[in-house]
């Protein structure tokens, strides 16, 4: 089974404002307000930790959900954020390239 790794795009700025994560794409200035689950995934998206491990560590203990459903929902969510250009997805760890 292949792994999915996620990393916050360098072309974003983000901050927790009043309990919700706000993300701005510096490419086109589009602004996103992430829900609780997306905020958790965003904060954990370090490019090194597999998504499945993030879900097991951060999502399952917080929500009443089985592991497979949680992972599938998380995968849908990170793909959506990837399509928006604010999250990078890969099947191997994403290196720093500064």
């Amino acid at each position: 089974m292949s792994e999915t790794f996620v990393r916050r795009s360098r072309k974003t700025a983000s901050r927790m404002v009043g309990g919700e994560m706000v993300v701005l794409s510096v490419v086109d200035s589009s602004l996103f307000n992430l829900n609780e689950t997306a905020s958790i995934l965003w904060q954990a998206a370090d490019g090194r930790t597999p998504l499945r491990a993030i879900v097991e560590r951060e999502i399952i203990p917080r929500f009443e959900v089985d592991a497979e459903t949680a992972y599938r929902d998380a995968l849908d969510l990170v793909r959506e954020l990837g399509d928006q250009g604010i999250l990078e997805l890969a099947d191997r760890p994403i290196e720093e390239n500064r």
């Binding site: 360098r10 700025a13 983000s14 901050r15 404002v17 009043g18 510096v26």
Partner: protein
């Protein structure tokens, strides 16, 4: 309500300083005739101090950070400061005159994924621009920098402060911005010197030039709407806050001084002696600024423009009372609508 407005409301409600401006130096390689700063180095914060303050600002919730000066690139650690700010998740707007930006610096700025770079351009004519900056060749160098930055894919904006000497040049600066692929913003307001000297205001444009600006559709959009007589002032307007300064915005000087805004130099603390968060939450001066609603302004609350005026409490403060009127904004309201403000009527 747009998402931006919603986030602003959330920030004010939660007491979050969403927007901050950090000047990392007042030193400058230009000597602009209208500049309100003293360019001597009065003991700038070190990189370690700025690093700590940036961390405190991130923790307090600052999201949009303007880094400026003086000329910020005169600091050898300007790039490490910008890097640190980006690593902490700030959306960084950078203000510079561009003189020190060549191809290499433009590429380095691109790699930082900044929101935008603002460059001051006063005129399309070198003699006028250079006459304002007091640096020969400065227009050429600033425009070259803008071209380098745009070619790297950075969002560049020209800031055009209007004065008597360049009052008629802004359409050409705007055209130059379009040609280069930059944005454009015009500012007809001259700020008094931070030391209180108001003589700089004599450099400002006259009433006729201001009227022209207020009726230029390339600047204001629909002139009929923009210059329409003010709507009746109701409770919503009177119960609103005059400005975001101190509510969701603040300013830090190169020496650590904390003000509600760069244009509102009311001392609220110093980040060298207290943490950013402690000042933001505990400053009595900020509490006083936050307590003032439009209805608490003795003159402006009676003004027909109270709901639409761009009144700057900082400019009012520099006139002697931050609850008082700001003459520059009275002049703008009058130029826009032809209707005198309450303060103008009192004076006449």
């Amino acid at each position: 309500m747009s998402l931006t407005e919603e986030i602003n409301v959330r920030a004010v409600t939660a007491g979050v300083p969403l927007v901050a401006h950090l000047d990392i130096t007042y030193r400058c390689n230009e000597r602009c005739v209208h500049c309100y700063l003293d360019h001597d180095d009065g003991g700038e914060m070190t990189f370690a101090e700025i690093d700590r303050v940036l961390g405190e600002m991130a923790e307090a919730g600052v999201f949009q950070l303007t880094i400026s000066g003086g000329e910020p690139l005169l600091r050898k650690d300007c790039f490490p400061i910008l890097r640190r700010a980006r690593d902490l998740g700030f959306n960084v707007k950078f203000k510079t005159n561009g003189i020190l930006i060549g191809e290499g610096e433009a590429a380095a700025l691109r790699d930082l994924c900044l929101d935008s770079v603002q460059i001051s351009i006063y005129s399309h004519r070198a003699d006028v621009h250079d006459g304002i900056t007091k640096v020969k060749g400065s227009l050429e160098r600033s425009l070259a920098a803008a071209r380098f930055l745009v070619s790297q894919g950075l969002r560049v904006k020209f800031a055009n402060v209007l004065m008597r000497d360049n009052a008629n040049d802004y359409p050409h600066v705007q055209a130059l911005a379009e040609e280069i692929g930059a944005g454009f913003t015009l500012d007809p307001t001259i700020t008094p010197h931070l030391n209180g000297d108001r003589s700089l205001l004599n450099l400002g444009i006259n009433r006729e030039a201001l009227n022209k600006v207020m009726r230029d559709e390339r600047l204001v959009g629909n002139v009929g709407e923009f210059c329409a007589p003010p709507a009746a002032v109701g409770d919503d307007e009177l119960n609103s806050f005059p400005c975001s300064a101190g509510h969701s915005a603040c300013y830090i000087s190169p020496y650590g001084d904390f003000y509600p805004c760069v244009q509102f130099p009311l001392p609220c603390g110093n980040v060298r002696r207290e943490s950013f968060g402690d000042i933001w939450r505990g400053s009595p001066q900020l509490a006083e600024v936050r307590s003032v609603k439009v209805r608490d302004l003795p003159v402006c609350s009676t003004c027909v423009h109270a709901g639409s005026c761009t009144r700057c409490p900082g400019l009012a403060y520099m006139e002697g009372n931050f609850r008082g009127p700001s003459s520059a904004d009275c002049a703008k309201s009058f130029a826009r609508t032809g209707i005198e403000s309450a303060a103008m009527r009192q004076r006449s």
